[in-house]
Symmetry: C2
Subunit: 332 residues, 2 copies
């Protein structure tokens, strides 16, 4: 049987382009004992993957040139040589960008499609939900009445972080890149204020107006000049969670900007970089809490779905052009 896979053919220099990917046909064998044959249903497309396209030391190992891209995938069991899975079961795993593939039973976890749509296990009930939960509760440590600013607020992590902060009684301000997104943040996700950074003439002024008591917490998904504007409004004893730096992932060399340390020092500010793996011993707590909120209707979610396996490279590029609201998912 043949199937299609998507390879990394070269490492991007600066912006990632379609030339860095190739789609090709490969043979897919049948499963051996302890393995299953899977069909990919939903493929997660995430900003951190851009980092893995570089050959640089980071928290996730680099993708190899000539090898398939991989990431979180929700798949369905087609054929099973495992006692743990039956055909039709839905599973989650870190799997290749390939339409059908063999996986060992130990790399998969079964998911419950009764609680939420299966793709939600790539997002609000998976890595992005946990990222929002731990970044906010453990680093920002929200207290009722405090002000939180979120950059990249309409992304998969941002919309969850904002809703959790509202559950904690905070004033929540989102920054996003279109009026459609800022409208959604306020109407669908309950943000108090939302700023379109592309049309704001004076971004620090717009942030100051939206945050009359200053900025106590900053959940940063983007970095760059948007962060400079937020940090200029930061309060004494503020907490900054560094979750993503999407504005910089495509940079060549080390980007320059204003030095932060004098501001962090004179205002006793905490800045903490984190990755979700830092909290792996507490995933159970996070998933229980997120699932409870989803069940109670306290957390809502949205996805940008792109149809067609072969659209994966274009979906990846779209992340860096702000084409997604909520989670970017490719549906095979």
């Amino acid at each position: 049987m043949t199937t299609r896979q998507i390879l990394l053919t070269s490492r991007p220099v600066g912006d990632c382009t379609l030339e860095n990917f190739k789609i090709q046909e490969v043979t897919c064998y049948l499963p051996k004992a302890g393995e299953v044959l899977l069909k990919g249903l939903y493929y997660s497309v995430d900003p951190y993957m851009r980092g893995r396209m570089n050959d640089a030391k980071s928290y996730a190992p680099p993708f190899q040139v000539g090898q398939p891209i991989s990431g979180a995938v929700v798949a369905q069991v087609v054929e099973s040589k495992s006692s743990k899975f039956r055909p039709g079961d839905l599973v989650l795993g870190n799997l290749p960008w390939q339409e059908q593939f063999i996986a060992p039973e130990t790399s998969l976890q079964k998911i419950d499609a009764g609680l939420a749509p299966p793709s939600y296990y790539l997002s609000i009930l998976g890595m992005t939900g946990l990222t929002a939960y731990f970044g906010l509760s453990d680093i920002c440590r929200p207290r009722a009445g405090e002000t939180l600013v979120i950059s990249g607020a309409a992304g998969a992590v941002g919309i969850v972080a904002g809703q959790i902060a509202k559950l904690n009684g905070c004033h929540v301000v989102g920054i996003a890149g279109s009026d459609e997104k800022t409208g959604l943040l306020k109407k669908q996700f309950g943000f108090d204020e939302a700023i379109n950074y592309k049309t704001a003439k004076d971004l620090p002024g717009a942030i100051a107006a939206a945050c009359p008591r200053g900025v106590d917490m900053y959940f940063d998904n983007v970095g760059g000049e948007i962060s400079d504007a937020v940090i200029s409004q930061i309060n004494f004893h503020a907490r900054i969670a560094l979750c993503g730096q999407i504005a910089l992932y495509n940079s060549r060399g080390i980007p320059q900007g204003p030095r932060l340390q004098p501001m962090l020092l004179t205002r006793s500010v905490l800045m903490q970089g984190f990755i979700i793996g830092d909290y792996k011993n507490r995933f159970g707590e996070g998933i229980r809490q997120l699932s409870a909120w989803v069940k109670e209707g306290k957390l809502t979610f949205t996805e940008t779905r792109i149809q067609g396996f072969e659209q994966l490279p274009l979906a990846m590029l779209g992340l860096f052009q702000g084409k997604n609201t909520g989670k970017m998912v490719v549906v095979a």
Copy 2:
């Protein structure tokens, strides 16, 4: 009776110069009920005072133009109208740069000259010792076997932070600006390695050589390019305590440098600005621990003493030219 005081006559733009100060004679009256007449003995000269010379929001209020500079002073009671103090008592307070002056009894604390030289209450048993203690124990959180780098290591805070880290079983590397200072760090204060940043041809390389297991903790007193070099060697899950940014205090405008956030993010690094006031509820704990170590001979200390009240402005300028080893103190 007349006495001399040192005023701020203008706010520095960029480097602080002698023109920003003036020495003048003023009348000193006699104490009223609840007050004492004091004679200054030891005047503390500290980097943070440069920030107070600007008219900018910070943790300590700005000095006022036309008013005396003030800071930590060890003084002796000359005449007392307070039941709490007798002539000859040694006291510590936040007091003006003036040779003799009146102070209310509530602004003073008596010190015990039996434990250590009186000037040590300006440093190892005072603010700089507490700054080292809390910055290291609360932010860096040393574990045996980890590596700590200290910039401005031969300053009053640096030499204490390094010794405390050694008491915790760490590998300690100091960065300072002369061979005399690096020699002292290793011989007198027990640092494992010391780097002269002025003569090192490749500072990141020198740091890498001195830190074969990378940098787990960075106690930063200086900022600027020295910090860039240290942070380039930082380990996963490192902690950075921002204690001072002396390289930047004289800057005009906001200095530019490499953006830190991508590095902090991908290595899950914590960076925390702090001032000693953040720990005021724990001063008792800190002073008990520091006093015990001093008594047991586990902490040693050094000062740069400059003779003559009128030398205070020059001593202040000297801080930014690296003229001190340990605490900069002016002896009246």
